[in-house]
Amino acid sequence: MMATTVPKQIGARIRRKEDPRLITGSSTYTDDIKLPGMLSMVLVRSPHAHARITEIDVSEAEGMDGVVAVTTGADLEGSVAGLPVAHKLEDLKEPPHRALSIDKVRYVGDAVAAVVAVDPSRARDAAERVHVGYESLEAVVDIEAATEDGSPLVHDEEGSNIAYEFPFLAGDVDAALLNADVVLRLRLMNQRQIPVALEPRSVIAQFDRGFGKMTLWSTTQIPHLLRTQLAIGLGLPEHSVRVIAPEVGGGFGSKLNVYAEEFLAAHLAKTLGRPVKWTADRSEGFLATTHGRDQLNEVEVGVDGEGHLLGMRVRMLQDLGAYHQLLTPVVPTLTVLMLPGCYRLPNLEVHLSGVFTNKTPTDAYRGAGRPEATFLIERVMDHIAAELDLDPAEVRRRNFIAADDFPATTATELVYDSGDYETALDRLLEVTDYAGLRREQEERRARGEVMGIGLSTYVEICGIGPSAALPAGGWEACTVEVRRTGAVVVKTGISPHGQGQETTFAQIVADRLGVPVDAVEIAHGDTDYVPEGIGTFGSRGLAVGGAALSLALDSIRAKAKKFAAHLLEAHEEDIEYEGNRLEIKGAPDRFVALEDVIGAAYLATDLPEGVEPGLAATHFFEPPNFTFPFGAHLCVVDIDPETGEPTLRRYVGVDDCGNVINPMIVDGQLHGGIAQGIAQALFEEAVYDRNGQLVTGSLMDYALPKASYLPNYELHRMTTPTPVNPLGAKGIGEAGTIGSTPCVINAIVDALSPYGVRDLEMPARPEKIWRAMGSGASE
């Protein structure tokens, strides 16, 4: 057999294997699937933010042509459990979250009835004929008002809108603030955002009465967790539930959940004996898919005369919305953990309160708690610079955790794995000619132009994560099967929905086993085909899922060496496996190719002693720690002094996510992430009126960034591998989002500093900037 040399794939900028089918419309999304006899489900949703349900009259709807069933919350009692929340918080109030509300509705979009009909139009028509009587109640909209005595209660039986308190103390903040030369006070709001995945949520449930088997197709990031929760929620054995995540068109955390529609479709498919499909329309997505952020922070921070952080106290209010979804109360605890950022912060006190309001539940949204932390500490850095008249780069430099301090333990007891924050900042200042930019700014200001330069140095927590830190396991599983024809099938427990792991995992396999990238198939998102896994979120796909793959490949390589040694009549430890060649060390003409090993493994006519037939391995990887990617971003903004319109002229990043498998995919993740972070800074905002109506409930009013609004990104990379996993890779899915929001706001505030501006609330819309420059009447 001929042995061939395959070019190194790890580190190569190869195009994504998944793209041809995606961009030619040849892939299958949940809503594309049509099953024989399939019915359509449409939900009747509350138009009120807060109201008591006085009656639900389904008789007219039930009698309509094509209507098969109309179900209300009362019909589900005893057969469908409430929706789950996963947490390890003490004393968390867990009011029931029913798939269909029975007593009150608690946000606009809260579901009260499900209509099932032979097609979606008829279901929609009938849904309009379900008559729900509401007794309107005062809505709880403002998060601070929600915490006050006498506020209306979202959940009457809980006696308070505060779902939990999460206090944290390290060191002595009182003393630190007392001894500080300067104490700064900031009030920072991370506005509510609405994740808008290209593909709306969709679910199909099919129940096989013969086998008692439930199959659920869903737009989910977590098919395995959903499988377990669906089994619990419907009282089925877990092995009788199969969850399939077909092609999923983006999630950004909004599909990292267990939703009412999944329980409802499954229950109705079981009771009606026909498959049931539900697909959100875009308006419904705005109301009834989890929102993100909505966190208010009041900060007191003490520094010495040189700008060194001495201590910080944060009062944090997190708007949970009306109910807990899967991770609702957990997300802001990540903010608490990451408050120190890249800096030495000896004394930290945080008091987090999670607060119910009559709004859509919040949950993970790209970054999930860390953008809030980075925004806070990076705004603090710029405030210190402004107060002490120091350059913002210098303030950061004075506070950085030093490169030789790693692994570094923070005040929040995290152990940062590896890093070199100062070098990242130095590289950034060098590639942007920071001194030159500051000179240019001076010249432009002299000409009456408004130009700002923003910095942000971030570290984030990902590769989530050690199981001890999570409510439901933080490991990942992977099976590698080397097939008889030389193809390699990888069954991974992660569930990519845009992240490109079909390519990056194939690159790893190609290098480790010596097969072409095209000979590798990455299977995912079907709990019967890939029986174990956790899912894709928290930038964990490569750092945890890839690590499990790496362990499985180690086993395959070891077993292949055993076969090669047997075939070559040599010792196993003398075999070198390079490319697809397994040769005897020092005797390169004595070798076998991988295909010879495959033949021996499956024909099994002459097995090495003690070796089983076949060439496949399954491994679970339990990460010993999180990973902590980091970087430094800079942007340049020009502001039209007459209109307040900001234009991002440059955006430069130096990012370090450890070892990189495919630089093009890393760039792509950064591009998308930075765009989303810029969007929080400049465009996106979920606005509710005082009655709890979502005013920005469509793409006509909720401003997603368009390509033309965004600059070209200049991306530079550093590589500081992590010791946490065998790949040395950290994760890059969220880093761009985390680093960019404060970078842009810092640039805008810098631009406006000649006008005495120290802060500007997000999103920095032109009118706000215009007012900050002193135009218009003060509000």
Partner: protein
Amino acid sequence: MLPAEFDYAAPESLDEALALLTGGGNVRILAGGQSLLPTLKLRLDRPDLVVDLRKISELSYVREENGEIAIGALTTYADLVASDLIGSGVGRCLAEAAASVGDLQVRNLGTIGGSLSHADPAADIPAAALALDCALVARSEEGDRTIAVDDFFHGLWTTALLPSEMLREIRFRKANGGGAYEKLRQAASGFALVGAAAVMQMDGDTIAGARVALTGVASSPFRLHALEERLSGESFGEELVREVCDEAGEAIENPLSDVHASAEYRVAMAGVTARRAILRAAG
């Protein structure tokens, strides 16, 4: 996003289409569908009949006739942008307005007649039509009726068109001069937070005529008559334009205020965009 049930017709000719308009019930005309389809899908409108004009190809044209530019009502924004006949001179305000609409997909489908008939208070095309002093030719079974653009817009989504009529053609004089359209975009929709269209006719340094219209600021697009009068006959100068535009906001009655911008900001930006449009139109 599924509309309520409606009847649908796709007539082969304009006459057939006009006959359907008078058949009774709530009839909606589907041209490019960029406003109508979302309205139907959100069930904000529940017509009995939708008359789709897709088969009526004779209403898509831009041509010069007797010193006028004539534009078929079904001409798309993209076709307006591509037309040499309106890309320069006074017509440039229309080309720029069309180029600023939505995105490429919208511009490939949306039509000039649809935009004018829909009369969205923040649409771009109506401001350009006002600045160009367009004659709007409406057709019914009775024949043509020409409506001056100044008489066309009656308020939010309301025009001078009768239920039996549809726009057939839009005409404007091919005068000497220049046109421009300036707009601050509402970031989500791309519609005008404030849009200003200007047509300036110059006689040497003297302003022979000025027509300036705003959109996005009030319930209908409207002309800045006082500003036009103050400019007419004056010798052109940036200072004059600035002074006149700084006061332009005073003429705005009931300015819009919403989640995207306050009335105060819209009024202030009306002056800025008007000035920028005038300076470019005259330049």
